[in-house]
């Protein structure tokens, strides 16, 4: 049933700063793209097109605090997910982005230590329910917040849609 593993392994694709807003992640001019998969084509399009270009499936985006601030646009989380990001790890998340990510089945991991403790290319192992990130390249352990059971339930279902589908349309 689970298409998201609770221990993730992958490389860091990008380390970004604080207050990475949803216009940076997914510019407003592409909001009329309502096919979720197609949103991936515009990930970071104005500001960091090179991140999307080089993103390999399962790689992580690491950032400072307040990742995803700004608009409620779900395309920001969808673009990351469908471009192949395995998770976003940030000092904190703006609340709507966080909910969107989990609802779409994209793990969003809160860690105050990750931003300083990771570099592009580092290999990480993230224990979503354990609240720990192992930086295998550096041989360090970084503290993270364990995902709460509600988020784990949604991620394990593959997101809110499959979760509700099972509940209502069975």
């Amino acid at each position: 049933m689970s298409d998201v593993k609770l221990v993730l392994r992958g490389r860091v694709r990008a380390v970004l700063g604080e207050n990475i807003d949803t216009d940076l992640i997914y510019p407003g001019r592409f909001l009329n793209v309502t096919d979720r998969e197609k949103t991936a084509e515009h990930l970071f399009e104005l500001a960091y097109p090179e991140i999307r270009a080089g993103l390999q499936a399962g790689e992580f985006i690491v950032a400072g605090k307040n990742f995803g601030c700004g608009s409620s646009r779900e395309q920001a989380a969808a673009a990351l997910k469908f471009a192949g990001a395995g998770a976003v790890v940030a000092g904190s998340f703006a609340r709507i982005f966080y909910r969107n990510a989990i609802n779409l089945g994209l793990p969003a991991v809160v860690s105050a230590e990750a931003h300083a403790g990771c570099e592009v290319g580092d290999e990480l192992e993230i224990g979503l329910t354990q609240g720990v990130i192992r930086n295998l390249t550096k041989g360090t352990e970084l503290r993270a917040a364990a995902l709460d059971p509600r988020a784990v339930e949604l991620l394990e279902a593959g997101g809110l849609i499959p979760y509700l589908k099972k509940k209502y349309a069975a």
Binding site: D21, D23, L24, G28, N32, L46, C69, L160, I161, Y168
Partner: protein, 416 residues
């Protein structure tokens, strides 16, 4: 003996969530499942619709509690948008969603929701737009959610919330001439930071707030989103926080002393706030007056007053967007649009216009815009190499006349 749950004093957010989740009392950090009273979407109703159809339920939970208002791209600026508009239009008809405001019937979603009486105090309102916080000015627990989550609301009519702790902001003192709610809230965002109210509720109160118009209170609740607030309240007659309610912190502001000058949010973040005199000389290519923050009658009135009998500077375009059809018509009757147009302004149809960088006033590389809107992120209104400075309607109008960032008092004194 301790207090029983029934007598625990609660903040506005706690009271509304307790009622909506069928509890006697709630406390910060508790998770509650609340019944939703009103669910609003704009064009992104198309995303909601798709998620809803995927879930596979045939009928929305309560068509009378759903409102859909087109505003981001009206009239449709491309075939792609026209196609999503059409799909939503047909879906609304099929589902019996009567509160559907099509092109020419409404305007910016938050303005329409408020002016058409959809929001009442004590309601839980969710919208697929982050500035849904605006409706805290009407006493609603009102917050933004994503499209898939809204599909869940359309299915179940309820949503989980973590009860937020509350920041209380007390404002006293008298505003100086030309200083408005926009300057106050930009000052507060500058102090607290872009994440200063993340996950929190905000309650504004104090004599300076109680003297404000409803429209000005909406400015405060609207922009509270830019410091991360989940919900933001200004006082309403029908209900208030309980005396003795617990606050995470209280911030006191003196409107006259602390906000002595117009406040400007400089590129590229809303918390990069400086008093006007600290920004320095800045040539302005476009001035935008509009949005869910500052596109109401009082905003058009002050702008008309500033530009009356003057001409917009030759290097500057002044783009004016009344927030709704209703605002547009009233501004027309009152002569504000005539005054603005005589000065050289272009009037866009009611809607979001250039605020979200789609159409009707996009910026080229190197251009500077002074705007009464609410976001100045990189590329928000066009080129990633353009610059957006957020300001009050009075400063936007004054800057359009001066062709550079200007205090309205300067323009007034210049007798030009």
């Amino acid at each position: 003996m301790g207090l029983t749950p029934m007598t625990l004093p609660m903040t506005m957010a706690e009271k509304i969530l307790a009622r909506a989740s069928g509890r006697e009392a709630v406390r910060p950090d508790e998770i509650v499942v609340a019944n939703v009273d009103l669910a609003m979407s704009h064009e992104n109703a198309d995303l909601v619709r798709k998620s809803f159809l995927e879930i596979g339920v045939s009928q929305v939970w309560d068509a009378s509690k759903i409102v859909i208002i087109f505003d981001h791209r009206i009239p449709a600026e491309s075939e792609k948008t026209a196609t999503t508009h059409k799909a939503v239009r047909e879906f609304a008809a099929a589902q019996g969603i009567e509160n559907f405001y099509d092109v020419g019937r409404g305007g910016i979603c938050h303005q329409v929701l408020a002016e058409r009486g959809h929001v009442r105090s004590g309601m839980v309102v969710v919208g697929t737009d982050s500035h849904t916080t605006t409706h805290g000015a009407l006493g609603a627990f009102a917050t933004g959610i994503g499209a898939t989550e809204m599909a869940g609301v359309w299915t179940e009519g309820k949503l989980w919330f973590k009860v937020p702790s509350t920041i209380r902001i007390e404002v006293e003192g008298e505003f100086r001439p030309w200083i408005s709610a926009k300057d106050l809230i930009l000052y507060i965002i500058g102090k607290l930071g872009a994440d200063g109210a993340d996950y929190r509720a905000v309650e504004f109160d104090g004599p300076a707030i109680r003297r404000m118009t409803q429209a000005s209170r909406m400015v405060l609740a609207n922009l509270s989103m830019e410091m991360g607030a989940k919900v933001a309240f200004t006082p309403v007659e029908e209900m208030g926080p309980d005396p003795g309610a617990q606050y995470e912190r209280t911030l006191r502001v003196d409107a006259g002393r602390d906000v002595a000058e117009p406040q400007i949010a400089c590129p590229h973040s809303v918390d990069n706030v400086k008093p006007l005199s600290a920004v320095g000389d800045l040539e302005v290519h476009q001035a935008v007056l509009g949005s869910c923050t500052n596109g109401r009658i009082e905003d058009l009135e002050v702008a008309a007053r500033v530009v009356a009998g003057r001409q917009v500077h030759k290097r500057t375009r002044l783009v004016v967007i009344p927030a709704s059809q209703q605002v547009y018509r009233e501004a027309m009757k009152l002569g504000y649009l005539e005054t603005l147009m005589a000065a050289g302004a272009i009037i866009n149809p009611p809607g979001c216009g250039p605020c979200v960088g789609v159409h009707q006033g996009i910026l080229a590389a190197g251009e500077v815009c002074v705007s009464s809107t609410n976001r100045n992120f990189i590329g928000r209104m066009g080129s990633k190499d353009s610059f957006v400075y957020l300001a009050s309607p009075a400063v936007v109008a004054a800057s359009a006349i001066a062709g550079r960032l200007a205090h309205p008092a300067e323009v007034e004194a210049a007798h030009v």
